[in-house]
């Protein structure tokens, strides 16, 4: 139930009382309510829990995290060798 998974918003229906979307989870498409992420547009990725999107995934933050992880090795190596880490 807490295992929310990221999915891509492929279609939005603004016609009803609640803003609804079709969300693609790696080929499986499901309906999700967008009431709590009004800023979301088609093409955005969201975390969906029990049929409700609770968060829009931030591409910039995702890249920052991955960059940091890629740098770890360089920093660690440099520390082992007693040298300053390389500037990315």
């Amino acid at each position: 139930m807490c295992l929310g998974i990221p999915g891509k918003v492929v279609e939005i229906d603004d016609g009803g009382e609640l803003r609804m979307a079709r969300v693609d989870f790696g080929g499986v498409r499901k309906e999700a309510c967008l009431a709590y992420v009004p800023e979301v547009e088609v093409g955005d990725y969201v975390i969906v829990h029990v049929g409700f999107a609770i968060s829009r995934l931030d591409e910039e933050e995702a890249q920052k995290t991955l960059e940091l992880l890629r740098m770890i090795d360089a920093e660690g190596m440099a520390a082992e060798l007693g040298e300053p880490p390389p500037v990315p």
Partner: protein
């Protein structure tokens, strides 16, 4: 898939394990709060790749597991009524009550249905005005916005035949209960990323400060968990105790304000009992008085219920992190995913189910991890010399 594959990268996972080994100088006990995190850790063998002495204690963040037995027995009593369509999230159906589970009741003819979203239960009520539709509203802060919206919709549509059996629990009071226990061994938490996506992390800051415990909000993929562990160990090694956010792509400091507003429109904080743990003050949600007409407990008068746990099950100790499934005599023998004695063997977020799925302590392994981390450079704290 985007946002999944890149956070499962094997090379980066090995680098992270190396870095954790490099930076760890002494034993530490960390707790991953959420059962989803437990599953990733155990399935990928991440916990076994950590330096000797760094122990992952599995937390109580399995909503199905901590739903009290009384609530399950009440669900069974309500679902047995011929006028009721009882709706629930799928993993609740096989959680053992005192005498049966919802699935067994369904096999005997009760109208028990699985829903993916609580809005489906509302639609069922609209489509079946002659029947009573009851939704089992359980979960942590992650399901609360959805469950609140179902009640809000039922109120807007003025549905007389919809009600909810509420059993909502909250993470921060549980963390405090763990920290206050005299036997507590947890020195840092990996907080549940999706709970914080809804609630933010402001409420965790006083806990980090009061108990001097690092809290790292962490995601669910292998790299998320390893980075969360690294961040927690860096804090522990340097004597810091702060709230940090590893899961920045999904969690903002203030959380999701729209979802919080919806929750507090429908629910208010109240005392809750946790299965295996006991009563914790102000640790859950209950319906606000103006929505009392949607309370299934009042509608169906399921008051005094005698409960009985299976005597062989040690779910309570497992949920509190004081024992692992390998300490249980029933694990894998009397208790299996096909015939669970306790809730942690049922749920996709339960610790016993995670161990069983990974083949821990079983004769034949049932699943293999994505990659072998045992080959990450063998630098243990001792080897630092």
């Amino acid at each position: 898939m985007k946002y999944i594959d890149e956070f499962r990268d094997g090379d980066l996972a090995r680098k992270l394990v190396d870095e954790i080994r490099r930076e760890t100088t002494r034993p530490w006990n960390l707790m991953e709060v959420c059962g989803g995190q437990t599953h990733t850790l155990v399935k990928q063998g991440l916990d076994e790749a950590l330096p000797e002495g760094v122990r992952m204690i599995h937390g109580p963040g399995c909503p199905v597991c901590v739903t009290p037995l009384e609530q399950i027995d009440k669900a069974l009593a309500i679902a047995a009524r011929p006028d009721v369509i009882f709706t629930s999230y799928g993993d609740m159906l096989r959680v053992p009550g005192s005498s049966a589970d919802l699935l067994a009741l369904k096999a005997r003819g009760a109208d028990v249905r699985t829903v993916y979203s609580p809005l489906e239960a509302v639609r069922l009520a609209q489509a079946n005005p002659e029947r009573q539709v009851v939704f089992f509203a359980i979960g942590f802060e992650t399901t609360a916005p959805a469950n609140a919206m179902a009640v809000w919709e039922a109120s807007r549509l003025d549905l007389p035949n919809f009600s909810v059996l509420v059993s909502h629990v909250l993470v921060p009071p549980a963390l405090e209960a763990i920290l206050r226990a005299p036997s507590n061994q947890v020195q840092a938490f990996l907080a549940a990323g999706h709970v914080c996506a809804v609630m933010g992390w402001e409420e965790y800051e006083p806990i980090a400060e009061r108990y001097h415990v690092p809290i790292v909000i962490t995601g669910f993929e292998p790299l998320d968990l390893l980075e969360g562990i690294l961040m927690a160990i860096r804090q522990l090694e340097s004597g810091r105790a702060e709230v940090e956010n590893q899961y920045a792509r999904a969690v903002r400091r203030e959380g999701n304000r729209a979802a919080q507003e919806a929750i507090f429109r429908v629910f208010e904080v109240g005392d809750r009992k946790w299965r295996g743990i006991g009563a914790i003050p102000s640790s859950g949600y209950r319906l606000r008085p103006e929505f009392a007409r949607f309370d299934a407990e009042e509608r169906f008068e399921v008051g005094a219920i005698e409960t009985a746990e299976h005597p062989a099950c040690i779910a309570g100790a497992i949920l509190q992190g004081t024992k692992t499934p390998l300490d249980c005599t029933a694990y894998g023998v009397l208790c299996t995913p096909a015939r669970p004695l306790g809730a942690p063997m049922v749920s996709a977020e339960g610790t016993c189910a995670a161990y069983h799925a990974a083949g821990r302590g079983l004769a034949a392994p049932t699943a293999l991890p994505l990659y072998d981390l045992s080959g990450a450079a063998a630098r243990t704290p001792e080897a630092r010399g």
